[in-house]
């Protein structure tokens, strides 16, 4: 019995990392929003690793934050440790990473969601998405509640037809042994949406009390008061450590002795798994020459003894997992609290979405997160934010919000997703960003806060802080550029001698001096050549001065890139009409429907000749 339960602008299905961002963004932009979840207790669950950030992912979190998203603020509230990694490898790849208190992370997110105006939370399983003439109309829950809505954002992660596998044991389930979402898959198929199947996995968890830490190397957090969000206060709580140990030849022997029981190798697991996150048995087989792999033992929170064994994700049978664990230094007497498992799930082939993450098949339907074939909390949250924004913009009849590859990692990721074919879960890497020297975590606010403000997600508090920072940077850049020294200034000369830096010939500014690798902005502050400023301001000035040459080179490349991006392809183009286009190009272009010549040129199978032909065709259309 179906009954009318209410009306919303935006309905978000799934309250993981994508769903929370989507729902918050839509509500904050003024839309009445319903967030539907299978279980209110598991909102913003981290079913796998207890960490956020790292290369490329930290940039994403900062971008989410600059646009007015929640992930950065939420992890700042709930972290147990922060480290800056890749220091010394350059500003573009420096990345913050936090260990999270999983429980607290979820709790803080629930608080934020409950406190959000215009946002309602509902515990239910969505069974059907109703559409009329190819446009989203309503959702219906398993218990018969029908909610009319203008847009739907699906963020169901790995729940769609989820199947858990550990050795010979197999059952239908979502992550963390929850119910899978079975009916929604069929509903999507019935709407004409193509699905694929992927696999991922998680390691066993162990009891802190049974671990001998004396055999491991301690990894404490950094002393600096790091945080992700540009507006979070400095952290005050004590940090917890992680611990490093490693597998042994005995571990590898156990794996090989039981390899005939590994579902990965027996053919039980059919979904394609990610190469960047291989299961432990896969590592042992493929890198047989390595006698040891490193393993990090990470706390899952402050109020729990459960610890995560990073590097040991596996779907070996439970009894083998115990043996494997006990062959590891420090874990000889370990008590395993949760078994590692592999999970197979349905995903929506992402080339069916537009750059706005709206489906090309059903108007008003958006997908974000793991359901789009990605992996990672950060990737999910970033898509959720973008899908939420675009669902709200659609309701408000405003233009979609799309970030370019030259503007943000978010842009790189979504462009990759909808343009390229992927045969494994997608993870963002800094190597995927052509202009990564411009897309740094330190300047995410400078890149994106303006845009967040225009959308309506950046509140006055954040906007005020941002304006002040921008003004300060402008003033201090001028100071650095106007303050000059010559060989007659003894203080400067002495400084250069002390740092073994080349002597001065002509008049030189502090800005130019900063380009020398051996000179640091901290030295200038120490000598009172510039005033004492906040660390993030100093860092920004130093990066902009030191890498100006490289940065400008990339800016030139971006200009060339954007010329192709700005050549737009009309949405109603009929590729069958384009004379002399190759068959393969026609087929791919019809499927992906790129928005610009630049995007078209990134589709595999579309050749430079095809691009030229398209240009001629567009010019012909224009003149007609």
């Amino acid at each position: 019995m179906v009954y009318e339960a209410g009306k919303y602008d935006v309905v978000v299905i799934g309250a993981g990392h994508a769903g929370c961002e989507a729902a918050l963004a839509a509500a904050r932009m003024g839309c009445s929003t319903l967030l539907v979840t299978l279980s209110v207790e598991f909102i913003a669950l981290m079913p796998c690793n207890p960490s956020i950030g790292g290369p490329a992912k930290a940039q994403l979190v900062r971008e989410i934050d600059a646009l007015g998203g929640e992930m950065g603020i939420n992890i700042d509230k709930s972290s147990i440790q922060m480290r800056l990694i890749n220091t010394g490898k350059g500003p573009a790849v420096q990345a913050l990473r936090a260990q999270a208190d999983k429980h607290e992370y979820g709790k803080e997110m629930i608080k934020t969601i409950l406190g959000q105006e215009r946002l309602n939370l509902l515990m239910a399983e969505v069974e059907q998405i109703e559409n009329e003439a190819g446009k989203v109309k309503a959702i219906i829950t398993r218990t018969g509640a029908r909610y009319e809505c203008q847009t739907v954002v699906i963020t169901t992660g790995t729940y769609l037809k989820g199947r858990i596998i550990a050795g010979e044991v197999m059952y239908d389930g979502g992550p963390g042994n929850q119910f899978p979402a079975v009916r929604l898959s069929d509903c999507l198929l019935a709407m004409g949406i193509k699905l694929g199947r992927f696999k991922t996995g998680t390691p066993p968890r162990i009891d802190r009390k049974s671990v001998d830490f004396s055999k491991m190397i301690e990894h404490p957090g950094d002393k600096e008061p790091w945080r992700f969000s540009f507006i979070s206060p400095p952290p005050v709580r004590e940090q917890l450590s992680c611990w490093l140990t490693h597998s042994t030849s005995e571990t590898h022997r156990i794996v090989m002795d039981n390899i005939q029981r590994a579902p990965l190798f027996t053919g039980v697991i059919k979904g394609k798994g990610p190469r960047y996150c291989p299961s432990f048995e896969d590592k042992v087989v493929r890198f047989a020459h390595k006698s040891s792999h490193q393993l990090f033992i990470e706390p899952e929170g402050r109020d729990t003894d459960e610890m995560y064994v990073q590097g040991l994700n596996t779907s070996l049978p439970e009894d083998v997992q115990v043996q494997v664990l006990r062959s590891i230094p420090g874990l000889e007497k370990v008590h395993m609290m949760r078994t590692g498992y592999a999970i197979e799930y349905d995903y929506v082939i992402p080339s069916q979405a537009k750059l706005s993450l709206e489906s090309k098949v059903i108007e008003g339907l958006f997908t974000a997160g793991q359901i789009n074939g990605t992996s990672g909390y950060e990737e999910a949250a970033a898509q959720g934010l973008m899908a939420g924004i675009n669902a709200a913009l659609k309701v408000q009849q405003r233009e979609p919000f799309v970030l370019k590859r030259s503007e943000a990692y978010i842009g790189v990721m979504i462009d990759d997703l909808v343009t390229k074919e992927a045969d494994e879960p997608y993870r963002l890497l800094t190597s995927r960003a052509e202009y990564r020297l411009l897309l740094r975590q330190d300047n995410a606010d400078l890149r994106l806060t303006d845009k967040g403000r225009q959308i309506g997600l950046v509140n006055d508090y954040r906007w005020g802080l941002f304006q002040a920072k921008k003004d300060l940077l402008k003033d201090q850049t001028k100071v650095l550029q106007m303050t000059t020294y010559t060989a007659a200034d003894t203080e400067a000369v002495n400084y250069l001698v002390e740092k073994e830096s080349a002597p001065l010939h002509d008049r030189i500014s502090l800005w130019e001096l900063l380009r020398r690798p051996e000179l640091k902005i901290a030295d200038f502050v120490e000598r009172e050549w510039i005033q004492t400023l906040k660390p993030d301001i100093l860092e920004q000035l130093e990066i902009q001065a030191k890498y100006e040459g490289y940065i400008n080179k990339q800016k030139e490349q971006v200009q060339r890139f954007e010329r192709m991006e700005s050549k737009q392809i009309p949405e109603d183009i009929n590729y069958d009409e384009v004379y002399s286009l190759s068959n393969e190009a026609v087929q791919k272009l019809k499927e992906i429907r790129p928005l610009s010549i630049g995007q078209a040129s990134r589709i595999s199978g579309v050749t430079p000749a095809d691009i030229n032909i398209l240009l001629i065709f567009l010019e012909k259309k224009r003149r007609n």
Binding site: P55, I85, G90, Y276, F296, S431, T607, N612, I616, F617
Partner: protein
Amino acid sequence: MLNDDIAALSTPPGEGGIGIIRLSGNGIMDRVSKIFAPAGKMDLSQRKGFTLNLGWIIDKDGSKVDEVLLGIMRAPRSYTGEDVIEINCHGGSMPIRRCLQRCLEAGLRLAEPGEFTKRAFLNGRLDLSQAEAVIDIIRAKTDRGLKLALQQLEGKTNYIEDLEDKLLKVNAMVEASLDFPEEVGDLDYEEAASILSQVKESMDRVIESGQRNEIYRDGVKLVICGKPNVGKSSLLNALVKKEKAIVTDIPGTTRDVVEDYINVRGIPVKIMDTAGIRITEDFVEKIGVEKSKEVIEQADLIIFMLDIAAGISQDDMEIFKNIKHDRLIVLVNKEDLEEKKITSEELENLFKGIRIVRGSVKNDIGIGELESAVEEMVFNGSIPGDGLDIMINLRQKNALLKSRVQVESALQTFRDVPLDCLGVDIWGALEMLGEISGKTLKEEVINRIFHDFCVGK
């Protein structure tokens, strides 16, 4: 890429006469000023449109490369609608090549096939009704360009693949260290430097040997074909005047395509002999036959040989069917023999409108006439020489040069800049190299990371 400065040959190179290099783009005046010394006093940038300007293209050290006439057409009154310069230089292959090289050094890039026509259309200089013709030109030239590029890579493929492989490895090392710092650790700087040095050395070698061979690279491609034992190798020897192909009386003994360059009345001609084409069960020979068909496909000019003593067989007509008739000379061989199974009437009927030469290769009869025929066909334009092959050769060479610049820059700043900046140069080197093989290598770097390193949590 839509309106940067481009350059291309617009006349085919030949001995004597003039060659024209065409430039287009709104920055070309400034760029050409840097490599052009005018005979008069007025600077190039002050010259008006539709003027001819005498002067010299000059080398980096100021020495003269070639005396040239520059025709200037100012935007929008030019073929492409942008500023256009036509450099009239001397017609030999070397002056053209060197002038074009100087243009590239001044910051222009080689035009893509059909790019001038494309710009003319996009800038409204060509009529709407010409759109499809423009597309045909682009399609044809691009396809031919791709084919030529692959041909030119033959013999060089191993070098390029080796360079690509090494650069992929270094790129993967850098990127893995940046994206998976915990699993991979710091970059092994010594190994990376050693690979980069090897890359630089072998680039030096390839570039140097390329420069030595360059003068021979272009020319009319001539193929001699006919059924086995018709006298192809003898003709080749007569033209080359040295024993290169193996000549025996047993059919099918010329198994490989042998190539050589000759000078026919001042025209550089690259001769490609083919094994006799016939239907064969012999596997080894079959490879030779397949290859021959491919060579015929690529030829600018074909000499199709008939044996007067053997007559015209079905095999002959089968071969004839597969040849482009507009670039064909029929040579009737063995006129010295008593037995004549081919009549003049038959020839005229079967090969209407095609140039026929009769002679005996063994006795040096008819070779002079054959050379005249070749010369005529080159100069009356029946051979489609648009210089595209030279362009492609230059493109590959320049991609290699640019790639080497990036490698050098990486080596110079190796330990002075952070890894992410170093990565820009190292990636640039691979990206440039990808232009030679036409591959997009970004995804391959990522594949290589997962292949070479055990990453993942």
